[in-house]
Symmetry: C2
Subunit: 369 residues, 2 copies
């Protein structure tokens, strides 16, 4: 399928039971899988045909593709897929079923010599309309049960208020192996992280961080840009909206859906990515921004994203491993976030996982704005 064929897909993908009342679930399911550093394969050897077969389990299709020496970036009928040597990211919205392709992914990775998953992250915001989702995505409990059948040691979290708005995370990290532990005589017992760093230097030596900004109740005038009424191509909207200025070094692949909706992938020479997906309809407007760009402070970027899209409320999540620039500054960010003017922070949580720290914050527009 090419970009032209894809133009009607976003609407066609709506489940029949809600065709009468137009609705699209912009909230994405985000799946990120890291394979063992010590294997020598390359996920980018997996062919387009193989990815297309895999994505049939998800119920979405490839509509565009860009790449550089570090990363392959696929624009999908419902959001995006990024493939690096040993990292795979799938982000899909609507009523797609990304967990259903995990077994197929493991098979394809095995052919490339990847038999060990070192880290997996599955996350999403609470759905606006959970009742229209398909199994195994009908609820977080069902998703966890499905993931637990593959990763028996996975842990699941709910950040934010369970009875209001929240963000779910399932994560599994490969523990150190018993045999290796015995070889590390000089390591003090129970300093688990230190052991892991010694055993898997490349794993923890690679700085890694991901920021997501999930926005709702967006400004009508801004959202009106992301329609075929206003523009003919994704490229025009990218420039008119200021998306091209957010991270200027990115090579952008964008797509404007008919009659409305927008997706973009950006990749730069360092192998970093960004991706934005927009559901502009007023009743259920939703914009997601995600990037793994390495910055020592995300405050400026967050402010610029917020100014570009003008949401009524938003969630920020930042993952950073111990080697990341972001890791040390997350404490500062806790304070700096709270000074973002005109915003009331409704929630703030941080989690220390074995190899990553996570910051979660939720904001809504203050009374005075």
């Amino acid at each position: 399928m090419d970009k032209q064929q894809a133009q009607q897909l976003q609407i066609a993908a709506l489940p029949p039971e809600i065709e009468s009342e137009h609705f699209f679930e912009g909230v994405e399911k985000l799946l990120e899988v890291w394979f063992d550093e010590r294997a020598t394969g390359d996920l980018r050897n997996i062919t387009r045909n193989q990815w297309e077969n895999l994505l049939r389990h998800v119920k979405c299709e490839i509509i565009s593709f860009t790449q550089n020496e570090h990363i392959d970036a696929f624009l999908l009928s419902e959001s995006s897929m990024f493939v690096s040597r040993r990292r795979w990211i799938l982000k899909t919205c609507g009523t797609t079923t990304p967990l259903k392709c995990l077994e197929q992914l493991l098979k394809l990775a095995q052919v490339e010599g990847y038999t060990v998953i070192t880290d997996i992250f599955y996350s999403r915001k609470n759905f606006t309309r959970p009742e229209v989702q398909n199994s195994p995505h009908k609820g977080f409990y069902e998703e966890v049960t499905y993931l637990d059948s593959i990763f028996p040691e996975g842990r699941s979290y709910c950040l934010g208020s369970i009875n209001q708005e929240c963000w779910y995370l399932y994560t599994f990290s490969q523990p150190e192996k018993e045999g290796e532990e015995e070889e590390e005589d000089e390591v003090k017992p129970n300093q688990k992280l230190q052991q892991l760093q010694l055993q898997q230097p490349a794993d923890f030596g690679d700085p890694d961080q991901t920021i997501e900004i999930l926005m709702q109740q967006l400004d009508n005038d801004v959202m009106a840009l992301f329609t075929k009424d206003k523009f003919a191509t994704g490229q025009e909207v990218t420039q008119s909206s200021g998306i091209d200025l957010l991270l200027p070094q990115m090579h952008i692949d964008d797509f404007l859906f008919d009659p409305c909706g927008y997706s973009m992938n950006g990749i730069n020479d360092k192998g970093e990515y960004m991706t934005i997906h927009i559901t502009p309809e007023e009743k259920f407007s939703y914009v997601s921004f995600e990037s793994n760009v390495a910055l020592d402070n995300y405050t400026r970027l967050i402010s610029q994203v917020i100014k570009t899209f003008k949401p009524g409320k938003f969630i920020v999540t930042i993952f950073a491993n111990k080697s990341s620039l972001a890791y040390e500054t997350m404490k500062e960010l806790e304070i700096e976030y709270s000074t973002l003017s005109n915003w009331q922070r409704t929630d703030m949580q941080c989690c220390n996982f074995p190899s990553y720290n996570l910051l979660f914050a939720q904001y809504s527009r203050g009374k005075s704005s």
Copy 2:
């Protein structure tokens, strides 16, 4: 009911469906309610008879009572109740139903002039056997629904891993009033906390902190102390176990159940409290420690509690408001905790609420111990 009558109660309270397989749910439901500082009443004017009536809704009884000029401390057939001028704490284990007495509490408080609840906290660890609980405690969702019917703006959280071990919290804090906000012209917009401090100096001027240590898989030799086989009175066990050394300035009211089980309340001249409840049976051993004692660093206290009871795993929660000594040192604690030898930290989360910070950490015994 006095201490003698109470001796058989812990066993008698077991629901019939599990009498055949002896089980007792040590995990407590903890309810803490703060009333408006500006009212002039005193919850300690509520009579013993009124409290007994209220506790019938919970399905537990008073077995002992101590007091000083600051605080009334009740030892219950299932755990404890503490009453101060405007703060009420109820902690009950087994299959009790503490939420069912909330309406009665509000009525009694109203007679004392308290019409506004400024803060409420309802929390508990996941039950060992949730299926034997009574409504509205059959699950956190049911508890939240019940609380939401009384506090429509309450927020609910799950800390730790939802699919493994976790700790639930429901919290509601009275927002500032519109009228009052207008009077504070010099306050910058959206500096919500600062506004609250200016409006309600006494509320936030009172330092407040609570530490809980919830322990499981406890050492058999230590648990054997808390039985009638070994000792005749609570006082003997309190001394033999070293409980009297944990916070030496506390005036202790203790109780040893027949054939096993232990409860204690401690209060000091500052109005601070501590409370310990022990379910010693090997198959479902559980010990809870709780105190609001003001310390600038809880590491020593945690270590001493852990050495006294020797759990296989434990959860620590620390609440601290902005005026608390603990507040500024929570960041340090994050680091210091991780150096507790022989313990592996399986989870660590912190939450920033409007008027309190919360630290949650979960530990299990390391491989080498």
